[in-house]
């Protein structure tokens, strides 16, 4: 039956990750950004709490949680620092391709070593964003950007299947527009041996759906963070004899931003519930991603706008949110591809 509340377990998870992100991550967001990485202590604490293996099955030492838990965690982390979120969750959405195609075996073989070795990172790249040639079981090609400074395992997801590569990749560091705490690089594969590959368009769609939801929930967090920060700011800053929030021109903007965040959240939760219940969530995940990206076009720049000149300065987090929300919206195939997938069901 309809119920918008979280059960106790999920509530506890949200409380825990919220405290972690506010207490451990928030004070260091600009340091992480300029260092292009998250410090070891914070990483270890994140892992100690089990957040680095949230969806890994219990039989493999993980928490075995589902998509709803994932999007709740990502919203909290995204609200503080989506780049740090990516750096800390070292499996990232690569998990979904391994899970969809290779099940427990692939997770044991490829995912577990990543979480068990400090600093290692897996990356998921979409074939549609890149150019690849495969010859004699070896893959060559280039990915213009990944939000990572390491790629110990590369999972290439196409419309029809996936390939796994462990060696033969090299990274060229980039400045990156946003998400710098995650690292930022272009990735090149040169005759990299494919160590596993699978074909199944249905599973490819499922993996992409989850990966999109992963991105959409981080984006949701960024948008919430920017909206809440600017709302609080507007309540405390005065111009023309009252809080700026009480000028209708800003009040309406603030309520529209609030509404946009809520619409994204509901669609993200809707898709996550569908996926967790075993339904085909591909359309809903694509729709949630589209909604999140559209909202980001509106909220990113307006979060800055509400702070006026201060918003443009790097002393405040809203300019960071404007950059990061844009970068996240380009990830996982971007809005156009998601729109195609969300609308495909109309045919």
């Amino acid at each position: 039956m309809i119920d918008f509340s979280l059960n106790e377990d999920l509530e506890l998870i949200v409380d825990t990750i919220r405290s972690f992100s506010n207490e451990r991550v928030l004070p260091k967001i600009r340091t992480f950004e300029s260092d292009r990485r998250v410090d070891g202590e914070v990483s270890r604490e994140f892992a100690m709490a089990g957040f680095d293996r949230l969806e890994l099955p219990e039989s493999l030492g993980g928490s075995g949680l589902g998509m709803l838990a994932r999007v709740l965690v990502n919203e909290e982390m995204g609200a503080v620092d989506p780049g740090a979120a990516l750096a800390l969750d070292r499996l990232g959405p690569a998990f979904y391709a391994l899970e969809a195609f290779g099940g427990l075996n692939a997770l044991a073989q490829f995912a577990r070593p990543i979480v068990e070795t400090e600093g290692k990172r897996a990356v998921l790249v979409l074939e549609s964003d890149s150019t690849f040639d495969v010859e004699h079981g070896r893959v060559s090609g280039a990915v213009p950007w990944i939000p990572s400074g390491r790629a110990d395992l590369v999972v290439i997801l196409s419309d029809t299947g996936a390939r796994v590569v462990e060696h033969g990749s090299s990274l060229q560091p980039l400045r990156g527009s946003g998400l710098r705490a995650a690292g930022s690089a272009s990735l090149r594969l040169e005759h990299a041996p494919v160590i596993a590959q699978w074909q199944d368009p249905r599973k490819a769609a499922q993996a992409l759906a989850k990966a999109r939801l992963y991105a959409a929930s981080l984006l949701l967090g960024v948008l919430r963070g920017a909206s809440e920060f600017s709302r609080n700011y507007a309540m405390n800053r005065e111009a023309f004899g009252r809080p700026i929030a009480h000028h209708q021109g800003l009040a309406f903007l603030i309520v529209d931003m609030y509404t946009a965040v809520e619409s994204v959240r509901l669609l993200v939760h809707d898709a996550a519930l569908k996926i967790d219940s075993g339904e085909d969530g591909t359309q809903h995940a694509a729709a949630a991603f589209v909604e999140a990206v559209e909202a980001s076009r509106f909220i990113g720049p307006n979060g800055v706008q509400i702070l006026g000149g201060h918003g443009f300065m790097q002393d405040y987090p809203v300019e960071k949110a404007m950059r990061e929300s844009r970068a996240l919206g380009l990830w996982m195939g971007g809005i156009d591809r998601a729109r195609d997938d969300a609308g495909k069901f109309l045919e």
Partner: protein, 399 residues
């Protein structure tokens, strides 16, 4: 009615384009990469002087003031300004010269002040800057409510307060500082003062780290019992604010500042257009190079960019034309600024989507434009303030 640009001006645009492409774009990219304005001894600034830049529009003692920022009317200055912003908006502010305060000084300064403060910019021996300080940490939109104070002390004024986000402040020969000489009178107590670099009490310069427009410095500073000669009070040399009676005359300081901002609005709007046009051109080039133009979603975006950009440009041209005709343009100038700045933001935002993951690399011009353009809806009156101004005119919105 005619929306064409004549041959003579077209030639000037072409010259600007050549300079912009060769010098301005690379300089802007260099500053953005370094995350800091070019140092004052950067060879670009010398070349800018040799190119004829950095000079005042004032023609020397006794000369009539020139109109528009390049002396040929508002329309012309807007058109040239758009072209130069196309190559780099940040560099247009970073360029040596009197810059923002020039209009207000030309309109309100005494001849003696023009000679003293604009004179060195007639044939500058080195790159020189000036600066205009209105905004304060406590607020920029509510211009009548600035907290910086000016107190009379014999033949001096003593200024106390703080300013922030001020363009070129730490490298300026002088800063035109807005301060209130008579707080009880509110906005009518406001005056502008020339504060020369090196004046004791002027200090605490901090160059802000910004999201974009990194090519010029936006600086906060403080005025602590900063003593300046009485004839550094703009316009009313030697006269104390207390002596001037209320009403029209005494609010001149505030009014002249505001009228300068009104006049510069089409220029700010034009620079947003310049940025947006650069984003459009880069988008088209990227779409063509990657064989995307036939994709309907890509084409829809490019069509939208072109259509909105044209509407915005015509709006801005009309506001400039009205100014040249001596006709009221308050609504048009505000409309053009808010429309151009917001459309330019939308164009840069959507252009990032066109690039896909390439946009996230942080090394594409469109990514820089996305960061730069945001400021245009904030500086010199935010989008909300432009709407308030229009609202007052169109529906009698009360103050």
């Amino acid at each position: 009615m005619d929306f064409e640009i004549d041959k003579e001006l077209r030639r000037e645009i072409e010259e600007t384009r050549e300079w912009g492409e060769r010098e301005v774009r690379p300089a802007g990219l260099e500053a953005d990469r370094n995350g800091a304005p070019l140092p004052i001894d950067h060879p670009y600034f010398r070349r800018y002087l040799e190119h004829g830049g950095g000079r005042t529009r004032w023609h020397g003692p006794g000369a009539e003031p020139a109109r528009g920022s390049s002396g040929g009317g508002v329309l012309k200055s807007v058109i040239i300004g758009e072209e130069i912003s196309y190559w780099d908006r940040g560099m247009t502010i970073a360029n040596p010269g009197v810059g923002l305060p020039e209009g207000i000084v030309l309109a309100s300064a005494t001849e003696e002040q023009k000679e003293r403060f604009l004179g060195p910019f007639l044939k500058p021996d080195r790159p020189r800057w000036a600066s205009f300080a209105l905004t304060e940490p406590g607020g920029g939109s509510d211009t009548a409510n600035f907290k910086t104070r000016a107190r009379r002390d014999g033949k001096h004024w003593i200024l106390t307060g703080a300013k922030c986000f001020i363009g070129n402040a730490s490298r300026a020969d002088w800063i035109l500082v807005q301060a209130n000489a008579d707080p009880e009178k509110g906005r009518s107590g406001q005056r502008a003062f020339f504060v020369e670099q090196g004046t004791p009490g002027l200090g605490g310069f901090k160059i802000e780290k910004k999201m974009g427009l990194k090519a010029y410095e936006s600086t906060s500073f403080t005025l602590e019992e900063c003593r300046i000669p009485e004839n550094n009070l703009l316009g009313e040399a030697g006269r104390s604010a207390e002596k001037s009676d209320g009403g029209e005359k005494s609010s001149k300081g505030y009014k002249s500042t505001m009228s300068t901002l009104n006049a510069s609005r089409p220029g700010v709007a034009a620079s947003a257009i310049g940025i947006a046009r650069a984003a459009l051109d880069e988008s088209i080039a990227f779409a063509r190079a990657n064989d995307l133009v036939k994709q309907v979603r890509v084409r829809d975006r490019l069509e939208l960019f072109q259509r909105k950009l044209r509407a915005a440009w015509l709006m801005v041209l009309k506001s400039a034309w009205l100014a040249d005709q001596g006709k009221p343009n308050i609504v048009e100038a505000s409309m053009g600024k808010v429309y151009a700045a917001e459309i330019a933001q939308d164009i840069a935002t959507l252009a990032m989507e066109l690039l896909g993951v390439v946009g996230a690399r942080g090394d594409h011009l469109i990514e820089k434009l996305y960061r730069d353009v945001k400021a245009l809806n904030i500086v010199e009156g935010t989008g909300q303030i432009q709407r308030v101004i229009m609202g007052r005119q169109l529906v009698g919105l009360p103050r």
